[in-house]
């Protein structure tokens, strides 16, 4: 019995693996051949954004912590790579914008970014350390629910203000343009570099998926769900949720950092706009549309919403905000489990589960009084 189940699980995992490889191969080799360069670039960006939504799904869909501040980590990763690109200069020269503000010495924190390995480390580590610190300070005091969401939003605003106001350090509002800079001797805006970024994005997406898949299966994944369901109960079972939450938030931040770096080089510029409040909440809607608590949903949702956005803003720019607002309302009220959840329910609906009391009856709500405040 036990072995049978195990065998079944292995078979499922194998099918999943084959499906991933197949999709990856199609994305990597078939799509570039059929799509025009402009559309391909768009797809590459969206796949980059899909990486962030994996991170958001991890922290919101599984662990139940709604972060409205993932733009911080996304932009930190983006700035990291953009700084590296800006520093591809003959020695002794400074990036152009510095001279505009009369800065004649490279700020100390720019210096290590001339090294590529350091930059890669920084793209992953800096966002995750920021997330871990913020998470530790918040979670250790058992701040949760909407309080956590509000604090992440405030943190986002703070980072936005900081990056926006510091012309002399990181070119303030104007941001850092990467499309005209060089990486490994190739111009980042050129078609060959863009194609490389596209392929790297696919690899990173798959790696992020595997990481999230590993984290959300097994005991650790169940623990995340338990944190979402009843955190206080978990303490009485002897677990300290703080460490788990900090770790998940940090991982989620690191994933967002990688995504930000990939998105930046494919867009060609990073500005503090990446840390706008609206953008970070939009990330949440990608996950919600696809279906939270399902990793595939996060990816599908991102692609769908972003394509809808592109089409709508090309045709009727005013309608996009109405549409997005409507999407928020719709997903929350009618489709709480998103598209993937809806499809899954349809399929499983046929196989009725017999329980007492019946599923149609109200299951007694198990609500924490503190959520009501």
């Amino acid at each position: 019995m036990m072995n049978q189940r195990k065998g079944l699980g292995k078979k499922k995992l194998l099918i999943e693996g084959v499906a991933i490889v197949a999709i990856a191969l199609i994305l990597a080799f078939v799509i570039p051949a059929v799509l025009p360069a402009f559309r391909l670039k768009l797809l590459g960006r969206f796949l980059g954004l899909a990486i962030v939504s994996l991170g958001i799904d991890l922290i919101w869909g599984y662990t139940g912590l709604l972060s409205l501040g993932h733009g911080i980590f996304f932009a930190l990763g983006g700035y990291g790579l953009a700084m590296h690109l800006k520093l591809q200069l003959p020695s002794g020269e400074l990036p152009e914008f510095f001279t505009l503000y009369g800065v004649d010495k490279l700020p100390w924190f720019w210096q290590p970014f001339s090294s590529f390995p350091f930059t890669i480390m920084a793209i992953i580590l800096i966002p995750s350390l920021v997330a871990a610190l913020l998470g530790y300070l918040v979670f250790r005091n058992r701040i949760k629910g909407v309080y956590f969401s509000i604090l992440t939003q405030a943190a986002l605003l703070v980072f936005f203000n900081f990056f926006n106001g510091q012309q002399k350090l990181i070119n303030g509002t104007n941001g850092l343009k990467t499309s005209t800079e060089h990486i490994f001797g190739v111009m980042a805006g050129s078609d060959s570099a863009q194609w490389a970024f596209y392929e790297i994005t696919i690899v990173c997406l798959i790696l992020a998926y595997i990481l999230c898949r590993w984290l959300t299966s097994g005991r650790f994944g169940r623990l995340l769900v338990a944190i979402r369901d009843d955190e206080m109960r978990l303490r009485f079972s002897g677990y300290n949720p703080t460490g788990y939450k900090v770790l998940v938030f940090a991982v989620s931040g690191a994933i967002a950092g990688v995504a930000g770096a990939l998105y930046t080089v494919q867009t060609g510029i990073i500005t503090p706009k990446f840390m706008e409040v609206a953008f970070s909440i939009e990330m949440v809607i990608w996950v919600a549309v696809g279906g939270r608590g399902t990793l595939v949903g996060a990816i599908v949702g991102t692609l769908l919403v972003r394509y809808a956005r592109t089409i709508l803003s090309e045709e009727f720019p005013e309608v996009w905000l109405f549409f997005q607002g409507g999407l928020f309302l719709l997903v929350v009220t009618v489709l709480p489990d998103g598209i993937v959840g809806w499809i899954r329910d349809k399929r499983w609906g046929k196989k009725r589960v017999i329980t007492y009391p019946g599923l149609e009856e109200m299951v007694e709500p198990q609500m924490n009084a503190d959520e009501y405040g």
């Binding site: 097994g218 005991r219 169940r222 623990l223 338990a226 109960r233 589960v353 329980t355 009391p357």
Partner: protein
Amino acid sequence: MDKILITDNLTVSFDGFRALNQLNFTMNTGELRVVIGPNGAGKTTFLDVITGKVQPTTGKVLFQGRNLRGIPEQEIARLGIGRKFQTPRVYLGLTVRENLDLVCNRFKNVFSTLFRTPSFTDRRMVMGLLETVGLGGKRDLKAALLSHGEKQRLEIGMLVAQSPDLLLVDEPVAGLTDEETENVGALLLALAESHSILVIEHDMEFVRQIARQVTVLHQGTVLCEGTMDEIQGDRRVIEVYLGESEATLATGNNQS
């Protein structure tokens, strides 16, 4: 070292209101103790203090001789105190088996949860517990789909999976049918063979089924202690349960 739990002049006050007032309570290792008391007697607060959810204002709680002040909930749980809540609290998004497995895990820090796979003994324990609480057939069902009574049993199962030395059980039969009540009672008696158990209960029928030693709480202090028969004969207990005048009436009738 045969006292598992001692409270010494324990007082808990919320903004001046004393939920527990100079409470002195002792319990032997291996004992099954039932605590009863009218509403607002401080029963749930008593459990809150033991499990670390509420800190004592003055006085102390000693578990196996160790002062519990300032120790966070999860550490207290790891020391060997398990708690079952009044309304069943299980992880609704997990299946019955996963619920048990999570609690059964011996290594509760972040990295061992991430890297260790469930051991053979863990899995066997979960299987055994599924049988004990009678949920073997529903082991792969989400806990959200269980009935109230099934959730109660699952939570007791989770309590045992934690293998604590002291089980704190808060109103295990509230809202159960007679048959389910009897099952839970039998389960608790079986558990009492190998654990120390403190049960808080309202249902007198049930108390009579399981109780050996009963403590009556009233206004945050111990009113009296004794066997079920002694308690039922005690004038003060009748007074707090029935009110002053009726109590005199009742005892008057007894005498005549």
